[in-house]
């Protein structure tokens, strides 16, 4: 019995050492955001004086708040669209019998094999033709419906008993209402999981946004931070970059801490189901 306790202490010690490695970059980021530029000429752990000038500059002199707003708007719309369309398509593929059902399902699934990287060039050329470059719609359109989400929703919709839907039909509900009122409430956990991973994916998306965005006002947070950091020929303004990173990362960490259980379950659920 005692031996077991010893080994438990040992495991805690190892895990805590790992925790330091995982958390340290975040602490370093926050500390660095309170340094003034001369603090970066040589190594220092603490700021010489807690200096808020980086934050003042970020809010006054850059478009940071606009980037934040862009990220929130784009994330919210794409997530909403994915929830509606993916669940409707998943429901249709799971619960209706019609010719071509299997072919359509395979067609949608097979698009999962196509990497985004291969599509960005055609998307860019299409976007240029349709005047979508540097617009919200241009940033959003590739993600509005998503094959993995359809697959996930179909798997969950398969579990809804047919009798439940037939009963609603007898009651005279139309088909659209049956999906909305009867089917959707049955798969709420899967919906919230899908919503979380879609929003996270969009919040952190970089490759397509950095291609399609051309003016400063349209930038999303990752694009804004990245281009601001490499944009100044006079060298990297570390305190500013760390301030922006802190402002981008801390709210996500807080949201994660609050919804920890749902997020972890959602990611596990989608990971395991996929």
């Amino acid at each position: 019995m005692k031996k077991n306790k010893d080994s438990e202490w040992f495991i805690h010690a190892v895990l805590l050492a790992g925790v330091v490695v995982v958390v340290f970059p975040f602490i370093w980021m926050i500390l660095s955001s309170f340094k003034s530029l001369p603090d970066f000429y040589s190594f220092s752990f603490w700021p010489h004086k807690f200096d808020f000038s980086a934050y003042k500059f970020i809010f006054k002199e850059t478009n940071f708040l606009q980037w934040y707003l862009n990220s929130i708007i784009i994330g919210a719309i794409v997530t909403l669209s994915c929830l509606v369309f993916n669940s409707l398509i998943g429901y249709t593929l799971a619960k209706y019998k019609f010719p071509g059902r299997k072919a359509i399902f395979i067609l949608i699934l097979s698009t999962l094999m196509i990497p985004t990287e291969m599509l960005v060039i055609p998307w860019y050329m299409m976007g240029a033709k349709m005047n979508l470059i540097d617009t919200y719609l241009g940033i959003m359109f590739p993600g509005l419906i998503e094959a993995f989400g359809i697959f996930l929703m179909r798997q969950f919709m398969l579990g809804i008993p047919d009798d439940l839907l037939d009963a609603a039909r007898i009651d005279g509900m139309n088909e659209f209402k049956i999906w909305w009122r009867v089917a959707l409430p049955q798969v709420k956990p899967a919906l919230s999981a899908l919503g979380i991973i879609t929003f996270l994916g969009n919040w952190n998306a970089y490759l397509w946004p950095v291609i399609v965005i051309s003016t400063e006002n349209m930038r999303t947070l990752p694009v804004g931070i990245s281009l601001y950091a490499t944009g100044d020929a006079g060298g990297i303004q570390w305190n500013m970059i760390m301030g922006m990173s802190t402002l981008a990362v801390i709210p996500m960490i807080i949201i994660f801490l609050i919804f920890q259980k749902q997020i972890v379950e959602g990611i596990t659920l989608t990971g395991v189901k996929g």
Binding site: S7, E8, V14, G18, V19, V22, V23, F24, P25, F26, W28, M29, F43, F45, F85, L88, T92, K97, F98, L107, I108, T111, M113, I114, P115, E117, M118, I121, P122, Y124, M125, P142, I145, I150, D163, D166, A167, R169, I170, L200, N204, Y206, I225, S226, D232, A233, W238, M242, S245, V249, M252, I253, F256, I263, V264, I267, T268, G271, V272, G274
Partner: protein, 306 residues
């Protein structure tokens, strides 16, 4: 009662019900199908056709692929990408499995460890890359200061051609091991306890139990993590762009020794504006991913046969 009514209605109007179902289904599916055709299928075909087009003018040509074959930088990008795969995937999976096993063995604070180790996965790659870039900085970064305490000579990290790729891989592993851990935890949860109890009665040791029970039963989890990990590493872009690009220098340095397939494609398409040549690069990436996917299907089918 309800069921019998439905059956009756099915008997009276068997055809009508089926037609109605088909109509409703297709009315729900029309817009999404158009979307998939326009946003996924057509661009894929377009990408292939562009890779066989000359940069200026029209017509069919294989010159993009000929050029690709002789392009030293392209092969460097392919080789680097394979290095990212070979370095990051096994290490992040091994660390994830070790963490999952360790957390499973303790009684208290499991949720705390799970939460902390998963944290990097949900944070923005761009933000995290810049934080690491500051830590790697040879003059003011934390890592050289830390090495100084341990009396290890300072390193050049991202500006050293020998170390840069390893530095980027470290950031990738740091960020994704929490995901492996989470999936392994779910996989371990699914192994029935009575198997271990039975093995204990038979006198099996801990090591034997791990190799004969835990690892074989984790097989689907391992395949899933390996495939998603390989595909993700093949697509590495954001980390390289943010860890190595400067105001005057392209990403993928120093001396092209961190450039990946996607970074190379990006530079050809959106800095040199040779979309046709970049499409050929993209097609190669597509073939790599296709091979991994087909391999996965084979492995999974084999499992079913057993």
């Amino acid at each position: 009662m309800i069921k019998s009514t439905i059956e009756k209605s099915r008997k009276i109007h068997p055809l009508k019900l089926k037609t109605k179902q088909t109509l409703v289904a297709y009315s729900f599916l029309t817009i999404p199908l158009l979307f998939f055709l326009c946003i996924r299928i057509f661009p894929t075909l377009y990408s292939f056709s562009m890779s066989f087009s000359p940069q200026y003018g029209v017509g069919f040509t294989v010159e993009n692929y000929q050029k690709l074959f002789k392009d030293h930088f392209f092969w460097q990008a392919v080789w680097n990408t394979l290095k990212y795969v070979i370095i990051t995937v096994p290490i992040q999976m091994a660390l994830g499995l070790l963490l999952a096993l360790a957390i499973k063995r303790i009684q208290h604070f499991r949720w705390f460890y799970r939460m902390i180790y998963f944290l990097p996965y949900i944070t923005s790659i761009v933000a995290v890359s810049w934080v690491w870039r500051l830590m790697f900085d040879p003059n003011t970064g934390f890592l050289n200061a830390f090495f100084g305490i341990l009396h290890i000579p300072p390193q050049n990290w991202l500006s050293d051609p020998k170390e840069a790729l390893l530095c980027i891989s470290t950031v990738m592993i740091w960020q994704s091991m929490g995901f492996s851990m989470l999936i392994f935890m779910a996989g371990l949860e699914g192994i029935p306890k009575h198997l271990y109890e039975a093995a204990q009665i038979d006198g099996a040791g801990k090591g034997k139990m791990f190799w004969k029970i835990t690892l074989p039963l984790l097989n689907p989890t391992i395949v899933f993590l390996a495939v998603t990990g390989v595909i993700q590493a093949l697509q590495t872009f954001t980390q390289i762009q943010n860890l190595t690009a400067g105001s005057g220098s392209n990403a993928g340095g120093p001396l092209h020794c961190t450039i990946s397939i996607v970074v190379y494609m990006y530079q050809n398409a959106f800095q040199d504006f040779n979309m046709q040549y970049a499409s050929a690069v993209a097609v190669v990436l597509f073939i790599f991913i296709l091979l991994v996917t087909l391999l996965q299907l084979r492995v999974l089918n084999k499992n079913i046969e057993y």
